[in-house]
C-alpha cells in the first residue's frame, strides 16, 4: 500500500510521460488538495460543474466526508487500485488524510443505431452499441424481470474488459451457466478487444461449424434469454454472444417470429435448400463433368460440354479459381464503403465475369455454379456459418475431384460425422432433431401454429412457456 504522502509521486512515476494524465493542485480552505485524472476519459463539463465548483465551496471539515458532499453517484474512499480507477474515467482526489475516487467518465458513444448486419423486414431496428450499459439496458427494457441476472467479471490482464453474463435465473439451466462462467474465468489473456476474442476461446475446437452466435440485435438476444440461453456482453463490442447455439439456430432469424407460421416454414425450407446448394453444388458439378457423366442425361451433358468448349483449364482448377475470385470480391466489398463497394461488385461481378467468359478463361456454367453456391451461403447472416460452408465446399470439391461421386459420399459422411458428434456444453449440436426433442420440434424447419407448452428440456428444465393468443 502506498503512503498518502508519497501517492502523488508514486502515480507520476507509474503513469510515465503520458500528457493526458493531469495533476491539478488546489488550495481549499487553506488545505492542499490534488486532483488526478485522465482528460480524455473524463467528462470535463461534469467535472467543472459538479466537482470543482463543489470542492471550492467546501470547508476544511467537509474534506473528510467528501463522499457525502459531492453530488456524484460514485464517490469512493479508496486506498489502493488507483491506476484502475484512473483508467476507468475516475478522478482521484487526494486530501491530507484520505483519497477519493469520483466517477465522471466521459460517454464515448455513437448512440443506438440501426442494425447493419442482421437486417429484418419487420421487428425492431435498434442494435447493440459499444457501450456496455446501453447494451444491458436494451435487453432490460425488453425483459422487465428481476430474474434477468446480469453478472459481471473483468477479463484481460491489461485491458481489464468488463464482461457481462446475462441469463434468466428461472429458465436457464444452472449447469450451463456455471460451465460458461468457469470457462470464462479460465481465460488468461492480455486483452479482450471485442466479443469475438471470447468466441474463439469458448467455441468447440476441432470443428468447422460455429457453436456460438454473434448478434447485434437486442431482440434476438432477448429471445435467446427466454429460451434458456446465456448472453455474453463485452464492453466496447457491439456484438453479443449467444451460447449455446445449435445448427438449427443458424436457420432461424428474428423475422421468423414476426410473421405467419406458413411463411416462416417456407422460408426455412428455402434456407435448408440453400445450405445444401452452398455445400454440394460445386462438388457435384465437378464429379459429373469429370468422372460420373452417366449420372446426367445426354442433353445436359452436351450443354455442359458446350460451355467448356474453349476453356483451357481443368474443371477443378476453374472451380477453385472462381471460388477464390468470389472470396476476393466478397472481401473487397466488405472492406469498402457502400458506395465504392457497389462499384467493386459491378466491376467484379458483371464486367469481369462477362469478360472472363468471352475470353474463354471460364465457362458460363461454372460461373452459374459458383455464383449460386456462394449466393446460397449468403442466405445465412452468420459469417461463421458462411465460412464453415465455404470450407466444406472446398473439402468436398477436392474429394470429388479425386474420387468423383464416391468422394462426394466420403465428404458427406465426414460432414455428418462432424455434425453428429459435435456437442455444445454437453448438448448435441443437432438438437432438437437428433436427439429428438418433442418440445422444440414444432419450431425447427417447419414452424407450426400450435404452441409448445414446454421449453427445450436440454436447455431448461421443461419449464412452461407463455402461450400465444
Amino acid at each position: 500500500m502506498v503512503n498518502i504522502m508519497n501517492l502523488e509521486k508514486y502515480l507520476k512515476n507509474k503513469l510515465g510521460p503520458s500528457k493526458d494524465y493531469i495533476f491539478k493542485k488546489l488550495i481549499i480552505s487553506k488545505q492542499k488538495v490534488t486532483l488526478i485524472f485522465n482528460e480524455t476519459l473524463i467528462d470535463t463539463t461534469r467535472t467543472n460543474d459538479f466537482i470543482l465548483r463543489n470542492l471550492l465551496n467546501l470547508s476544511k471539515k467537509d474534506l473528510k466526508y467528501l463522499e457525502n458532499k459531492l453530488p456524484n453517484i460514485n464517490v469512493l474512499k479508496i486506498n489502493n487500485n488507483y491506476i484502475d480507477y484512473l483508467t476507468k474515467g475516475f478522478i482521484i482526489i487526494i486530501t491530507k488524510k484520505y483519497t477519493y475516487a469520483v466517477e465522471v467518465r466521459n460517454v464515448l458513444d455513437r448512440g443506438i443505431q440501426t442494425i447493419e448486419s442482421e437486417l429484418s423486414i419487420t421487428g425492431p431496428k435498434d442494435s447493440f452499441t459499444e457501450t456496455y450499459n446501453i447494451n444491458i439496458s436494451l435487453i432490460r427494457k425488453r425483459i422487465k424481470s428481476p430474474n434477468l441476472y446480469a453478472e459481471n467479471i473483468e477479463l484481460g490482464r491489461i485491458t481489464k474488459t468488463k464482461i457481462g453474463i446475462l441469463y434468466m435465473n428461472n429458465i436457464a439451466k444452472k449447469e450451463i451457466v456455471k460451465q460458461i462462467k468457469d470457462n470464462l474465468e479460465k481465460i488468461d489473456i492480455d486483452g479482450i478487444i471485442d466479443s469475438s476474442y471470447l468466441k474463439q476461446t469458448l467455441e468447440c475446437k476441432n470443428n468447422l461449424f460455429p457453436t456460438i452466435s454473434l448478434t447485434e440485435r437486442p431482440d434476438k438476444a432477448s429471445m435467446a434469454l427466454l429460451e434458456g440461453k446465456v448472453i455474453i456482453i463485452v464492453d466496447m463490442s457491439p456484438y453479443a454472444l449467444i451460447l449455446p447455439s445449435f445448427l438449427i439456430d443458424f436457420f432461424h432469424t428474428t423475422d421468423d417470429y414476426y410473421q405467419k407460421s406458413i411463411n416462416t416454414s417456407f422460408i426455412r425450407i428455402i434456407r435448408l435448400f440453400a445450405f445444401l446448394v452452398a455445400v454440394f453444388t460445386p462438388a457435384l458439378y465437378i464429379s459429373i463433368t469429370t468422372r460420373n457423366y452417366n449420372l446426367i442425361p445426354l442433353d445436359l451433358l452436351l450443354t455442359l460440354k458446350a460451355g467448356r468448349t474453349f476453356v483451357p483449364f481443368p474443371a477443378y482448377i476453374e472451380a477453385l479459381f472462381m471460388l477464390i475470385c468470389f472470396e476476393i470480391l466478397k472481401e473487397s466489398d466488405l472492406r469498402m464503403s457502400s458506395t465504392t463497394g457497389s462499384a467493386v461488385s459491378i466491376l467484379g461481378g458483371l464486367i469481369l465475369g462477362d469478360a472472363a467468359v468471352s475470353a474463354g478463361i471460364v465457362s458460363p456454367i461454372m460461373i452459374i455454379v459458383i455464383a449460386i453456391s456462394s449466393i446460397a451461403s449468403l442466405t445465412f447472416s452468420s459469417i461463421e456459418l458462411g465460412n464453415a460452408l465455404r470450407n466444406y465446399k472446398i473439402i468436398l470439391l477436392i474429394l470429388s475431384t479425386i474420387f468423383g461421386i464416391n468422394g462426394l459420399l466420403v465428404g458427406t459422411t465426414i460432414l455428418l460425422y462432424q455434425l453428429l458428434t459435435l456437442k455444445v456444453f454437453g448438448i448435441p449440436y443437432l438438437n432438437p432433431i437428433i436427439p429428438f426433442e418433442k418440445n422444440e420440434i414444432k419450431d425447427t424447419i417447419i414452424k407450426t401454429n400450435t404452441n409448445n407448452p414446454k421449453r427445450n428440456s436440454q436447455l431448461t428444465h421443461n419449464i412452461n412457456r407463455g402461450k400465444y393468443l
Binding site: 463433368t289 468422372r291 451433358l301 460440354k305 467448356r308 468448349t309
Partner: protein, 128 residues
Amino acid sequence: MKKILIILIIVLELSLIKIPKYTELNNLAIIEEIAIQKNNNYYTIILKEIIPKRKDQGINYEYEYYQETSTSITKAINKIKQKTKKKLYLQKAKSLITNITNSHEIIIELDINPSTIIHTNNIKEKMN
C-alpha cells in the same frame, strides 16, 4: 470406436463403387451413333461423335466420324481410341446400325443401350 466405424464406412464408400477415370469434358468424345458392319470376319466400325459448340446464341452441334476395321469390335474401337486421343463415351449412343443379326451381343460387348437399332447391309447410307 466411432472413428473406426467412420473409417470403415469411408473405405466401403471408396471401394464398393468403381471410381471412373478422370476425363475432362473437352477430352470426352460423346458418341451419338454407332455403326458396325461385319464382312469376311472383319468388323468395320463407324462412330459418330457429337460436338456441341457454344455460340453467341445457343449451341451449335458439329459431327465427326471415325472409321476403323479390325478382326474384332474391341480391336476396332481401340484403334479409334488411339486415333482420336479422346475417351470414347459410347453409353449414351442413341442408335446402333449394323448388318449383324444378333445385335444383342454388340450391346452387351459395348455396354450400350441404344433407343434405335437398325439392321441394314449398307451402314454408311443409314447414318445421319
